[in-house]
């Protein structure tokens, strides 16, 4: 079997774009999370909704900041 070159799963050139979009989405979801926290009272708050919003926001923020690191040359 001839040796095959290994490349990164996502082309390097996409990292800046991906990071901008994922961070933007992540920050919007984060904002909605905190708006929900601040506006709902203790009685009306639903834990499941908080956790789901938090999870979605952290997935986007996590990948967004990973791509930000990669795009700025910090190859983790």
């Amino acid at each position: 079997m001839a040796p095959k070159a290994i490349a990164s799963p996502i082309p390097d050139a996409w990292y800046p774009t991906l990071s901008v979009f994922m961070l933007a989405i992540g920050l919007v979801v984060t904002a909605s999370f905190f708006i929900y926290e601040a506006t709902s009272s203790r009685k009306t708050r639903s834990l499941a909704k908080e956790l789901v919003t938090g999870a979605v926001a952290s997935v986007f923020l996590g990948f967004g900041s990973l791509f930000l690191l990669l795009a700025s040359g910090v190859y983790v």
Partner: protein, 612 residues
């Protein structure tokens, strides 16, 4: 110094005189060429070996005096089959150190294994390349800035060998500069910058005829006392190389003072042997190149790149004279796909071992390969012997640390710039470790927020202010439910209006009636839900401020609802009686005005309550 060397040699020659010949081999022709154009002495010898005995011989011994052997950096023997330009591909023959018995002391023996045994009368030609470092001794040892650098090289004019040598010659190639002196023995000729000794014929084993050459050598003697190369692999698409240099000028030491004026104005008179700049040949597509030392970036560097290579020209902070030192770091990133490959279920890195700069002698070369976290089954293949061990390194977003392969080689020369391979196993899923860490970090932040909002941090659970706050929270919750309720009512109102519009478009009276019925039911449910909320607000003292507004809102809403229903009925009636559109419009005009006014008031009240 010269006299010392000669005395050594004299004693040595006497010791050699009565040594028995152990092998039946003879060397029928030896051509040697010593290249001294750089600080590294390269001796290329072509040996024609002939078996004069009856036994099969499978190895040839090479001899190097101990004082030279300690500077030996690289030794290879290649078979030289075929003639002239149509040489067959050179095959490297295995070379190892041996200690045969009965041989004179102060000699190191290397045994070259021949590819096949040499029978009686057969001949075999092999090329031997020996590379020596620190072989050129500066003489004088100390020079001023204006002086030129002179060095001495000493060797033997006769090939030192345990075998009889029939015909031999030696060419010493010097740099294109002044030759101060050289040993003249029989058959010595000088031709430009080449000194030729020989041919000499029929010399017995261990013949030794010392020669010395004293010449000008102004090329910089760049010696890296320590070079640490760190190669870090990231499967996200990068191979990061960081090289820490610790350089010293290994030539004649500088004495007296350094004049920057003389150095700058008379460039080719003063400081001819100083290190002005170094050129590192980096692989193609290198990016993010930097050159710095511990106090920051060094701006005197240039970078050229084309499709075949990247050239980085760096200038130290000051010109380096003999004995001066400098330490700096260069680093660059390389695309992953140029160096990382997959074969037989394993991944391997294929990278060059040595220093990317020309003609640099490295006393201690340490190559560290940092593999990604989660690599297993690591093995290394290096074409020459090295010291090897394993470490762990903690870098960005690591939990258990990255495995690091450390390879150490002493006395490395450009000939060691060969490719080596590091094999390892790695699962693609392990790449998700870093993003998962980031995600869990952010998620913890959110969880902390949730916990903070849910936690009750009051110290005294019975204080009046705490109780008031609890009640206020309840009031707020009820008001929110109340708002939701009213909002839903208003949506139903909108839907009613929409059903009227549908009616005017399609004329389907039955559908409109059915819709009306459904909405009636919904509105009734909503008003039923509203009652307990209102009752709570009326009973709570905290809500007394906003209660009037809330009640007003309820009344207005009810009013609005009634008016709307009336209007709805009128329109439906109109359609059933087949009245004209204009007539219906006229009849409901007044009603419509009131509805709009009421809706406005309801909206205002809602807004007011929302602001609480």
């Amino acid at each position: 110094m010269k006299i010392g060397v000669r005395l050594d040699v004299l004693v040595f020659t006497i010791a050699l005189l009565s040594v028995p010949v152990l092998s039946d081999l003879i060397l029928s022709k030896v051509d040697r060429r010593i290249d001294l154009t750089s600080q590294i002495a390269r001796i290329t010898s072509t040996l024609k070996v002939e078996n004069a005995g009856n036994d099969l011989v499978s190895e040839v011994l090479l001899t190097i005096p101990d004082n030279q052997a300690k500077n030996l950096a690289y030794l290879t023997a290649t078979s030289n089959e075929g003639k002239g330009k149509v040489k067959a591909s050179a095959v490297n023959l295995p070379v190892e150190v041996v200690h045969p018995k009965g041989m004179p002391p102060a000699l190191t023996f290397y045994s070259v294994s021949l590819p096949k045994g040499l029978g009686k009368g057969e001949t075999f030609t092999l090329d031997v390349l020996a590379v020596f470092t620190h072989a050129l001794q500066p003489f004088p040892e100390e020079i001023t800035q204006a002086n030129i650098q002179l060095v001495v090289f000493s060797d033997t004019a006769h090939f030192l060998s345990p075998y009889t040598v029939k015909v031999q010659s030696l060419i010493v190639k010097l740099p294109e500069a002044r030759i101060e002196s050289y040993t003249k023995i029989e058959n010595t000729k000088i031709h430009g910058s080449e000194i030729k000794y020989g041919p000499y014929e029929n010399l017995p084993p261990f013949s030794y005829s010392p020669i010395g050459v004293h010449f000008e050598a102004n090329q910089p003697f760049v010696v890296a006392q320590e070079l640490v190369r760190e190669i870090e692999i990231s499967h996200w698409g990068n191979v990061q190389v960081t090289e820490h240099y610790n350089l010293v000028h290994g030539g004649a030491r500088s004495k007296g003072e350094f004049s920057r004026l003389d150095y700058q104005s008379r460039r080719y008179v003063g400081g001819a042997s100083a290190v002005r700049s170094l050129v590192a040949k980096l692989p193609p597509r290198a990016h993010s190149v930097y050159y710095r030392d511990e106090i920051g970036n060094i701006s005197t560097s240039n970078l050229w790149s084309d499709s075949k290579k990247t050239e980085l020209e760096i200038e130290p902070r000051y010109p380096m004279f003999g004995g001066w030192r400098t330490a700096f770091t260069i680093g660059y990133g390389l695309p992953l796909q140029d160096f990382l490959f997959r074969a037989e279920g394993r991944r391997y890195l294929d990278f060059s071992f040595g220093c990317p700069m020309n003609e640099v002698v490295i006393d201690t070369l340490i190559v560290k390969v940092v593999l990604p976290e989660g690599s297993t089954d690591i093995s290394v293949s290096v074409p020459f012997p090295v010291k090897q061990w394993q470490e762990t390194k903690f870098s960005h977003l690591d939990v258990i640390g990255r495995p690091v392969i450390v390879l150490e080689k002493t006395n490395a020369v450009p000939e060691h710039n060969q490719h080596f391979q590091v094999y390892y196993k790695f699962s693609n899923l392990s790449m998700l470790r870093e993003p998962l860490m980031l995600i869990s970090g952010f998620f913890l932040l959110f969880v902390a927020g949730i916990i903070y909002m849910h936690a009750d941090l009051a110290i005294s659970k019975s204080s009046p202010s705490y109780l008031a706050k609890l009640q206020w929270d309840e009031v707020l919750a009820v008001i929110q439910q109340f708002q939701n309720n009213i909002n839903r009512c208003l949506t139903i109102h909108d839907k009613l209006e929409a059903s009227l519009r549908d009616l005017s478009r399609t004329g389907d009276v039955q559908a409109c009636k059915a819709a009306r019925k459904a909405f009636d039911g919904l509105l009734k449910d909503l008003s039923k839900d509203l009652k307990p909320l209102l009752a709570f607000l009326q009973s709570s003292p905290q809500a007394s401020q906003i209660l009037p507004k809330v009640e007003e809102l309820v009344v207005k809403e009810k009013d609005l609802q009634e008016k709307l229903m009336a209007k709805h009925s009128m329109v439906v009636d109109g359609y059933e009686k087949k009245s004209g559109g204009r007539e219906i419009e006229n009849r409901i005009a007044l009603q419509q005005q009131k509805i709009t006014a009421l809706r406005q008031e309801v909206d205002d009240l809602l807004e007011f309550i929302e602001e609480i």
